[in-house]
Amino acid sequence: MTERILVLGAGPGGLVSANLLALHGYDVTVVEKSEYHLFQPGMLWIAFQGHPPEKYMRPVKDLVKPTVNLVQGKVAEVNLAERTVTLEDGRRLDYDRVIIALGAHLDYDAVPGHSSLVEEFGDYFRGADYAARFWSHFKAMSRGTLVIAAADPLYKCPPAPLKAAFLAAETLRRRGVKDSVSVVLALPFIHEYPSETVAEIVAPKLREAGVEVKTMFTVDSIDAENRVIYSLEGESITYDLAAVIPAHKGPAIRLLPEEARDDDGFIKVDKYTLQIEGYDDAYAVGDCNNAPTSKTGVTAHLGAEVVVERILGFDSRFNGRTNCPIVTDGEASFVISTYDHPPIPVKFSIFKRLLEDAFIASYWSSLRDPEKWSPIFRAYFEATDPSRVGGGW
C-alpha cells in the first residue's frame, strides 16, 4: 500500500512538502483552513504602499499539484501516539507520516489593549484585510506620530518592522508629508537589529530615511483610548497611528502528547532533521517549530526540502539558513546566517534588490513546482553560504 502522508497547513512549508512528495508517488493530503494562500510579505506593501490585496493571494487549490488531495478544514487535534488528526468539524484522518506546517499563532491577547488597537487601525501581520485597513488610515495621515513596534522579541521575519519603517517613510516622502509625520521604530532589541553586525549596516540607512529608532522597547500594554504604548522597560510613546507586531505562539491546536511543545507552544524538533522529538513518523517545518533560527518563508521552504529528502531515505540536514531581505527605496540587503554562523555583514546594493525582486516573482511557481526551482535556489544558497562569503558580501 502506498504510504499516506498528511501535511497540515498550506503555507510555504506545507506546500513545498506536499508538492515534492507528490512527485514521488506518495498518497499526499493537505489540510488547510483557508481557501486562499497569502504571500505574507505582501502585507507590508498593502499596509504601507497601498498595493491591492488580491495581488498577494492565490486559491490554495491552484498551488497544489493535481495529484495532491486537498481537504478544506481546520485542524483541532493531532495525536502523535495514535497517528490521527481530528478536524474541528469532527472528521478524523489517519496517517503513516505527518508533516505539521501550521505556522505561528498570533496572540493579540498577550498584551492588554492590543486587540482594540488592531481592530481600530489594522496591522501588517494579521491578514490581508487588516493590512488594507491599516492603509486606509495611513494614506490619510498628514501629521503626528506613526509608531511601529513589537510585543515580543520573537516574531517571524526579524527585519519586518524595519521594512515597515522604510516603506512608510518612502510613502510619506512621496506624499510630501515626511516632515510633519514622524516615524518611530520601537524595537525590543539592544541595537537596531538583534545582530549587531546587521545593526551597524541598517542604522545609517534608517537615519537617512528619517526614521527615529527607540531600542529596548518591548510593548507591555496599549492604552488605545489615550493612544499611549507602554514598554516593559519602563518607557512610553504617544501615537496617532500604530502597528504592533503581536506575540507569536505555537499553533492553536491540541497536540498530544503535550510534552511535544515548548513553553510558547512551538513544536519541539531536532533542529537538523526537523523530526518531532520522540517520533520518527512526525515532522514540524517552518514557523510552528522551535528550531533556533529565524521564522521565515525561506527557512520553511528549505526545511520542507530536508524533510522530503529524509522521507525519501537521504540523510539530509537543515543548517538553519536564513535569507531575510531588508529593502529600502532602490536597494536591498539580506540577513544571512546558519546555525553555525551568526549573521554576516551584507551591504545594501541594487543587485540584491534585483535578486529580491526575482525571489518575489518566482514565489508562486516555487511553491507549486519546487523541483524546478531547487537547483537554482541551491546554487544561490551555496554561493552565498556564510562559510564562503563569511567576510561579507
Binding site: 546594493s349 541594487i350 537547483p375 537554482i376 546554487a379 554561493a383 552565498t384 564562503r388 558580501w393
Partner: protein
C-alpha cells in the same frame, strides 16, 4: 463554470486594441526568431538540464560579488577608459616615487596590492 469565466476574461482582453497590437507584434517576433533559427536555441535554453548548467556557471560566490559591485566597478573602469584618450608622458623611477606622494596614487597602489593578494591566494 469558473473555467468559462476565465475564458471570457481572455476574450475580453482581446477586445482591447493594445492587447491586439501587442499580439500581432509578438507573432511577428516569433516568426523572425523562427526564420533566424534563434527560436530553437531559446527552446533549448529553457530545458531543465540546460538551466541547471547555466545556473552552475552563473551562480557562484564570485559572480554574486561581482554583480553586487558592478556599479562601482563600471565607474572605475569608465574613469580608467576616459584617461586612455589623454596622452601619457613616460614615467621614470623617480617620477614613480614622486607620484606616490599623491594620496590618490598611494591609495591606488594599496588597492593594487590587495588585488595581487587575491590573485596569488587560492
Amino acid at each position: 463554470m469558473a473555467e468559462r469565466d476565465e475564458l471570457m476574461e481572455v476574450i475580453d482582453k482581446l477586445g482591447q486594441p493594445e492587447v491586439r497590437e501587442a499580439l500581432v507584434k509578438a507573432v511577428d517576433l516569433l516568426a523572425n526568431l523562427e526564420r533566424s533559427g534563434l527560436l530553437d536555441l531559446l527552446i533549448a535554453l529553457t530545458d531543465e538540464d540546460v538551466v541547471k548548467r547555466i545556473v552552475q556557471l552563473v551562480m557562484t560566490t564570485g559572480t554574486m560579488k561581482l554583480a553586487d559591485n558592478l556599479p562601482e566597478l563600471l565607474d572605475k573602469l569608465g574613469a580608467i577608459a576616459a584617461t586612455l584618450a589623454e596622452p601619457a608622458e613616460p614615467l621614470g623611477i623617480t617620477g614613480l616615487l614622486e607620484s606616490l606622494k599623491d594620496p590618490a596614487v598611494a591609495r591606488g597602489l594599496s588597492r593594487l596590492v590587495t588585488v595581487l593578494r587575491a590573485l596569488g591566494g587560492d
